[in-house]
C-alpha cells in the first residue's frame, strides 16, 4: 500500500476503534466457530472427550441416514406449502389495504398484530386451537358439517396444521408489501389510465413489475426462515407423530444436545448451509427472468 497521509492514518485508527466491537465479535463468535464447526464436522465429538478426526465419516453416514431424508422431506414439504401461501395471501391483503378507502388502518392493525407474537405462547395457543375434540378449528368445521381430522395427532395432518398456523403470521410480510405498493409512483397509473388501460392490465404491467423486487426479497427471507422452523415442532408435537414433524433443525438439535453427537450435528449444519446457498443462488438466477429493477 502506498504511504498514507497523516489524516488517512488517523482516520484509519479512529475507524478501527469504532468498528472494534464488530471485529472482535466476528473473530470470536463467527469466524472462530466457523473454523471449529468445519473441524467438528470431520470428527466424532461428544463434548466430554476431545474430538477424534474421522474424515468424511459423518457425511457418508448422513447420506445413509433415513431420518436425515425424513427431516429434509418434512422441511421441504412445510416450506413448499407455507411460503407460496404466505406470499400470495400477503400480497392480496396488501393490494386490498392499498385501496384508498376509509378504515384501512384498523384492518392493517388486525392483520399485523399476530405476526409480532411468536414462540412458545403462540405454539401453545395453536395446540389448543387444533385440539380435535375441544379446539376452535374442528368446532368451526363441524358447523360446515365436516368432521375435522386429528390434526397434530395425525401423521397426515400435522404438517398441514403447522402450515395453517404459519399463515397467521403473514402480517409482517403484508406490511412490507404495502410499503412496496405505496412506493410506486402514482404518475405511472395516471398515464396508464389516460391510455385507457384496464385495472387488470395495470396490475400486470405496472404493479407486479414494480413490486417484484419486494416479492423476491420476501421469497428469500421467508424460505430461509421456514427452513429453520424449530420451536413449533419442539413444543407442539415433539417431532411426532411418527416423525411427521421432525424438521431439519429439530433433528440437528436432537443430535447435538440430546444425543451429544456434536460432530454429526455440525455436518448436518454445513449441509443445511449448502442447501440454503444453492436454493438462494437458483432463485437469484431465476429472478433475472421475473424481477424488474429500475434504472439507477
Amino acid at each position: 500500500m502506498a504511504k498514507m497521509t497523516k489524516t488517512t492514518k488517523r482516520n484509519l485508527v479512529t475507524a478501527l476503534l469504532f468498528i472494534s466491537p464488530w471485529v472482535i465479535g466476528f473473530l470470536v463468535f463467527t469466524l472462530g466457530p466457523i473454523v471449529l464447526s468445519v473441524y467438528y464436522s470431520f470428527s466424532a465429538y461428544n463434548v466430554f472427550q476431545p474430538p477424534i478426526w474421522i474424515g468424511l465419516d459423518n457425511y457418508t453416514t448422513i447420506m445413509d441416514d433415513p431420518l436425515f431424508y425424513k427431516s429434509l422431506y418434512n422441511t421441504v414439504y412445510y416450506t413448499a406449502l407455507s411460503v407460496p401461501g404466505v406470499l400470495v395471501l400477503s400480497l392480496l391483503l396488501a393490494l386490498l389495504l392499498n385501496s384508498r378507502l376509509k378504515g384501512m388502518n384498523i384492518f392493517r392493525t388486525i392483520y399485523f398484530l399476530p405476526s409480532v407474537l411468536s414462540g412458545v405462547a403462540v405454539s401453545l395457543l395453536w395446540m389448543w386451537l387444533f385440539n380435535p375434540d375441544s379446539g376452535l378449528i374442528n368446532l368451526l368445521l363441524s358447523y360446515l358439517g365436516i368432521e375435522g381430522p386429528l390434526w397434530l395427532n395425525s401423521p397426515y395432518w400435522s404438517k398441514p396444521a403447522l402450515v395453517i398456523m404459519s399463515y397467521w403470521g403473514l402480517g409482517g410480510v403484508m406490511v412490507i408489501n404495502l410499503a412496496g405498493l405505496q412506493a410506486i409512483p402514482t404518475e405511472l397509473y395516471e398515464v396508464a389510465t389516460i391510455d385507457g388501460a384496464s385495472a387488470w392490465r395495470k396490475f400486470w404491467s405496472i404493479t407486479l413489475p414494480m413490486i417484484s423486487p419486494t416479492l423476491f426479497f420476501n421469497l428469500i427471507t421467508l424460505s430461509i426462515g421456514s427452513f429453520q422452523v424449530f420451536t413449533q415442532a419442539y413444543v407442539m408435537t415433539s417431532g411426532g407423530p411418527v416423525n411427521s414433524t421432525l424438521f431439519y433443525v429439530f433433528y440437528l438439535y436432537r443430535m447435538a444436545f440430546e444425543n451429544l453427537r456434536m460432530g454429526y450435528a455440525s455436518a448436518l449444519a454445513w449441509i443445511l448451509f449448502a442447501i440454503i446457498m444453492v436454493f438462494t443462488l437458483i432463485q437469484l438466477r431465476l429472478s433475472k427472468r421475473w424481477v424488474y429493477y429500475q434504472e439507477g
Partner: protein
Amino acid sequence: MRMRRTFYAALVYGTLSLGAVSFLLPLFWMISTALKADFQIFAYPPQWMPNPVVWENFKRAIDYFPFWLYARNTMIITVSVVVGQVVTAALVAYGFAKIEWPGRDVVFVFVLATMMLPSQVTMIPLFVLFQRMGWINTWLPLIVPSWFGGGAFNIFLFRQYFRTIPNELSAAARIDGCSEARIFAQIIFPLAKPVVATVSIFAFLWTWNDFIGPLIYLHSAEKYTLALGLRAFQQYSSTEWNLLMAGSLIVMLPIIVLFFLLQRYFVEGMAMSGLKG
C-alpha cells in the same frame, strides 16, 4: 360508474372483514378459554363464552409459573440485549458511514456476508466455547454476543441512516475541535432515533420470544425465561388449558401493549427492513 365503485368498496370491505375475523378468532378463543372454569374446558360441544367467568385463572397461572421471577429474568436479558445491540451497532455503523478509511467497503462486504450464515453452523462451537468459559446455566451466552457488533443487519440499518445525515454537520464540529467520539454521541446518534426505535423493537421481540437460546443454555429452573417457564408449565399441566391460555396471554401481553403504543415504529421498521433489503 358510481355503482361500480360502491360494488368495489363492498367487495374490499367484505373480504377484509372476513379475513379480520379469522385473524382475531384465535385470540378470542384464547381469552375465552383463559376465563373458563376447569369443568368447562372440555365441555362438548365446545362453548364460545366462559360461564362462569373465572378471573382467578390468571392469578393461578401466575403462581404456577412462578411468573414474576421469570418476568424479571426475561426483562434483564432482553434489556441487556437491546442496549447492547443499539449501542454497538450504532458505533460500528458510524465507523463505516462517517469516517473515510482505506478498505472500508471491502470490510463492509464481510459484515453483510455474515448475514448469509445460518445460526445453526456456529451454534455448536459457541456452546462448546461458552461451556469452557463456565457460562452454561448463566445468562451471559444470551447477552454478551449482542455487545459485539449488535448484528449485521442492525449495522446495515444504522449505516444507511447515517449516510443520509449531511457530512457538513460533522465537518463543522471537527473544525471546532470536537473529538470523533463526541460527534458520534452528541450529534449523529441523537439524529438516528427512528433506527434506534426499529432496532430496539426487533431486538426486544426477538429476545422476548427466543426459545432455542434459553433452551440450550439455561438448565436450572430459577434461571428460566418466560418462554422456558411456559414450556415447563405445559409439561406438568398438559390438560389445564384454561391456565395454559391465561399464562400464554400474560406472556404475550407486554408485546401486545408495546405493539399498540409503538405501532407506527413497528410498521416503519418492517417497511424499512423490506425496502432496503
